[in-house]
């Protein structure tokens, strides 16, 4: 019943990491429980809320739906790796300044989904932002301050 663990090699936030996880563990569980990276959140563990969004090889994925074992060799970016050392990502500063994080529980997932959007599309329209974040539920903000913050960050990234 308590199954043998398997080894998964990943690059998490730029750092080569070897994790020993039970084979049924999701990436979400591996990150939170084995790698100690509790910044990634969960609201359902069924692929319904977006709170667990991380970037796998640059693309936003629901870490609760991916087995850790399936990520062998992948590059994973979590909220802990979004800032550049002590320097916040412009999305992070914009979210902090504009009140886009209330309880903050959806925030890591939203930030990563938004970060992927801005790489794909440095000048998203409001509708494109809404589209890109449509898989991330937020129960606090009504999304408006989130949209505003993404717009501000996009502008800052463009003029950098």
């Amino acid at each position: 019943m308590l199954v043998d663990k398997i080894t998964v090699n990943l690059k998490i936030n730029g750092l080569a990491t070897e994790l020993r996880v039970p084979p049924q563990k999701t990436l979400l569980e591996a990150l939170r429980e084995e790698a100690g990276l509790t910044g990634t959140k969960h609201g359902c563990e069924l692929g319904e809320c977006g709170a667990c969004t991380v970037l796998i090889n640059g693309s936003p994925q629901l870490s609760c739906l991916v087995l850790a074992a399936a990520c062998d060799g992948a590059e994973v970016l979590t909220i802990e790796g979004l800032a550049n050392g002590p320097e916040l990502h412009p999305l992070q500063s914009a979210f902090a300044e504009l009140g886009a994080a209330q309880c903050g529980y959806c925030t890591p997932g939203v930030l990563l989904a938004a970060a992927a959007l801005l790489v794909r599309n440095p000048s998203p329209t409001r509708d494109e932002i809404r589209q890109a974040l449509s898989g991330n539920l937020c129960r606090c903000t009504g999304y408006l301050q989130i949209w505003n913050a993404v717009e501000r960050a996009a502008e800052q990234l463009r003029t950098r």
């Binding site: 308590l2 990276l37 069924l46 309880c103 903050g104 529980y105 539920l137 408006l144």
Partner: protein, 805 residues
């Protein structure tokens, strides 16, 4: 930025914002302790049954399982309200809804705990299920709570202020209607989680995502039979609450008990499905409303009857019931008012307080009814409201004390901004505008358990290095209460808010605050914190005055400096603190707050009073597709009377979040149970329980009306709940403006819109809504003479006056 304040009223980053955007905030499920075990609960698969037998031995025999317990380990009943202590940590004799917990397991891994649940033998003897308010009224047996006096009727209340019959007799027009407000849930993004740690010296610590650590503290001590002084509850930052984390929960007690039995820390994190079973959300409510008006629209009387589907336990239900009748009177003048409310037990997850607690349901009926009256009397709906706003500094007919009231300004603002005068009633078919208003408490006037102590308290400690720490029992649930504390202290001490440390929601360290519910924190902890900080400042002032031989009045506190302008002296704040500490010793000050005494003295007067009432007016523009019944919100204009904003962007965030949640309730959110299949929850998932995503949410233009209230700190009032309330009726009113039919139900779903359109097409009343109010034998009302008729707040002697209708 407002007059005379340096911090209050500005747009400032919340003090915990950086932690939140970097993933550093430690929520309950992020707490990890060495040697920790994982807990899972076995929940009833049957809605109503007697428990014949529970055998835990199979579970205990499983690999990795350390302990398993059932109900008899915690026989003491509890409940958030002393009047309905009807819950057990784990069910003992019977189960009352699908999801009711009966056993708990602690194992080395979460997986092992989960597997062990399958090995528990649970033998149940099913009983008839009670699935609706009507059935609960008509089926006194089997009783869901055998000890309940009136079959499955949990509570019946009846209050009359003035003479309702006379009010209706004298009216020119009476509007009467039935409404149904669907039950819905908080759906906070964070699933409830808790970690318990027991040390052999008898001390118990619980980390939990709770909005009310003080109440959890009390219940743990009581049920676990421990001295309260040995119990420590730490409320972790909540990943959203909205009222869903204000009850003491089964899982909190279970992990504590398991930690005590195993001597190891125990964690639980509920699945999303379990969160749906915890519920404590909005009561599905049937409302019968009658409003009597003069030809010019002046309200002469109002009679509301509500029936609340309470679910399986009492929870806050008695308060919820009173709340469905409490705040009808605080927006517009209602000289004669009668309220009858009933709450029924059913075999569903228990209902409780959700954002707006018991007031959105009657507000829905009231604001639609005003719209109908306006149409019948050919008065503009905005004017109908403007002509009869409750005056400032007044007592309502049910003895609620109103301070400032910015409602007229709210209405005028949204009317202007939305182009209402030019557009209402004049848009092309399929487009419509709807207006509705509301009011909410800035904190309940009475505590949950009767006591005369403060509702909020704070301590401020100054360090000779210039550091300032504020300690307070309040809990940040995302509304920004930690930041309010820091901003208030910064304002009083003239320092940078980001240099203040905030320690909150830890029963070992922080003075009691009753919790984050009823929108009480800004006003109540705001007052307490301001008092504590001002006292600290005065200590520093007197120390510095003595040392420098100047008078205290010459000393000012600003920009992190303490100055004596006349003498050209400027000290860094830290230097001033050091001087004062040398004079007075360590500087630690405290403040506390208790709301003013309530004006009503009758039984039931305890629900409704508040130090201050916030007001909102909202207009929504919708598009209605007549082929599908789909309602799309296009834009919302919301004006909120906040008294005085403490932090503007946080206030706007609360308004927008309330509007969002109100739109969700109005259009799609609903708890649905399969009546024919044993009352199983139809949709206990975030995918099937529909809420607005980023794609459905519309733009909101927010206006803050600042009319400082004498009872709020700096004049501040609440914002977290009030702006939700106008949304459901505004949507229904807008649908009427768009396509000429009324949906007297929430949510306003496409099929309901189609049903109303269909009725209209078949020449019937152009409406869809409930048709019938079940018969209830209402008690003789408590009669109270309103203040305007010379009443003193006491009930009339029973038997005096006329008989009940």
């Amino acid at each position: 930025m407002s007059e005379g304040h340096r911090i209050i009223g500005r747009n400032l980053r919340k003090i915990d914002a950086i932690d939140k955007v970097t993933g550093r905030t430690r929520y309950a499920d992020d707490v990890v302790l060495p040697r920790m075990l994982y807990c899972k609960l076995l929940r009833s698969p049957v809605a109503h049954a007697n428990i014949k037998r529970i055998d835990l031995s199979g579970a205990l025999a499983q690999e990795g399982v350390v302990a398993a317990i059932s109900g008899e380990t915690m026989p003491t009943a509890y409940g958030i309200l002393p009047v309905s202590e009807d819950e057990h940590a784990l069910c003992i004799d019977k189960v009352r809804f699908i999801g009711d917990p009966v056993a708990a397991v602690a194992a080395e891994t979460e997986h092992a705990a989960e597997l062990a649940l399958d090995a528990i033998e649970l033998e149940l003897e099913p009983l008839e299920t009670i699935g609706s308010v009507e059935k609960a009224i008509n089926t006194p047996e089997p009783r869901i709570h055998p000890g309940n006096r009136r079959g499955n009727i949990h509570k019946l209340v009846s209050l009359e202020f003035g003479d309702i019959e006379q009010a209706f007799a004298e009216a020119d027009h009476v509007e009467e209607g039935l409404f149904h407000y669907g039950g819905n849930t908080h759906l906070a993004m964070e699933q409830h989680a808790a970690v318990a740690d027991w040390s052999p010296d008898g001390r118990l610590t619980l980390w939990s995502s709770t909005q009310t650590p003080h109440y959890v503290h009390r219940v743990l001590a009581k049920v676990l039979d421990l001295p309260a002084a040995q119990v420590r509850v730490i409320a972790t930052p909540n990943g959203g609450g909205f009222g869903g984390k204000t009850d003491p929960f089964n899982h909190e007690l279970a992990v504590c008990k398991l930690a005590m039995l195993t001597g190891r820390p125990v964690k639980i994190c509920l699945t999303r499905e379990e969160v749906f079973y915890c519920h404590r959300g909005r009561h599905a409510t049937l409302i019968q409303a009658r409003t009597a008006v003069k030809r010019d629209g002046t309200i002469t009387g109002m009679h509301f009857r509500t029936l609340l589907d309470g679910g399986a336990y009492g929870s806050y239900g008695v308060a919820s019931t009173f709340y469905t009748g409490a705040l009808q009177t605080v927006t517009y003048e209602v000289p004669h008012y009668r309220f009858d409310g009933g709450r029924l037990f059913t075999n569903k997850p228990p209902c409780g307080p959700k954002r707006g607690h018991g007031t959105p349901q009657p507000r829905f009926a009231l604001e639609i009814q005003l719209d109908r009256i306006a149409a019948a009397l050919r008065i503009d709906p905005a004017d109908l409201r403007l002509q009869q706003i409750q005056p400032a500094n007044s007592l309502t007919s049910n003895y609620l004390r109103i301070g400032s009231i910015g409602l007229a300004k709210c209405i005028k603002t949204v009317v202007e901004a939305s182009g209402w005068r030019e557009r209402y009633g004049k848009l092309e078919r399929g487009r419509g505008l709807g207006l509705a208003c509301s009011s909410y408490l800035s904190g309940a006037g009475l505590p949950i358990y009767w006591n005369e102590m403060p509702h909020s308290a704070a301590t401020v400690k100054l360090d000779r290095g210039g550091g300032v720490t504020v300690f307070c029992g309040s809990t940040d649930v995302g509304q920004g209460s930690d930041s309010v504390l820091a901003f208030v202290v910064a304002e009083e001490l003239g320092i940078d808010p980001y240099q203040i440390r905030v320690v909150t929601a830890d029963t070992d360290l922080t003075p009691v605050d009753l919790g984050s519910y009823s929108s009480r924190v800004t006003v109540m902890t705001g007052h307490a914190t301001r008092q504590a900080a001002a006292a600290a400042r005065e200590r520093v002032r007197s120390g510095v005055a003595e040392k420098l031989a100047v008078s205290g009045e010459q000393i000012t506190f600003a920009d992190g400096k303490v100055r004596v302008a006349e003498k050209g002296i400027e000290l860094a704040f830290a230097e001033a603190v050091a001087i004062a500490e040398a004079r007075h010793g360590t500087i630690v000050t405290s403040g506390s707050y208790k709301p003013p005494e309530t004006a009503g003295k009758f039984k039931g007067a305890g629900v409704g009073p508040s130090p201050a009432y916030s007001y909102s007016a909202g207009i929504v523009e919708v598009e209605v597709d007549e082929q599908t019944g789909f309602v799309t919100p296009i834009k919302v204009w919301m004006a909120h009377d906040i008294g005085q904003a403490i932090n503007r962007s946080a206030v706007i965030g609360q308004v927008e979040g309330s509007v969002y949640m109100g739109l969700g309730e109005a259009l799609m959110e609903e708890m649905v149970y399969r009546e024919k299949r044993n009352l199983v929850h139809k949709i206990p998932s975030m995918l099937e329980y529909k809420s607005l995503t980023s794609l459905e949410m519309c733009e909101v233009e927010t206006f803050l009306i600042e009319d400082p209230d004498p009872n709020g700190p700096y004049g501040a009032k609440e914002v977290g709940q009030g702006p939700l309330l106008p949304m459901p009726p505004a949507i229904a009113n807008a649908v009427y403006d768009a396509v000429g039919v009324r949906v007297d139900m929430v949510p306003v779903t496409p099929s309901r819109v189609m049903a109303a359109l269909d009725a209209a097409a078949r020449g019937k009343a152009p409406r869809h809504g409930p048709e019938r109010m079940p018969q209830v034998s209402w008690p003789e009302p408590t009669r109270v003479t309103p203040p305007w008729a010379g009443g003193d707040g006491h009930a009339q002697r029973p038997g005096s006056g006329k008989q009940a209708s």
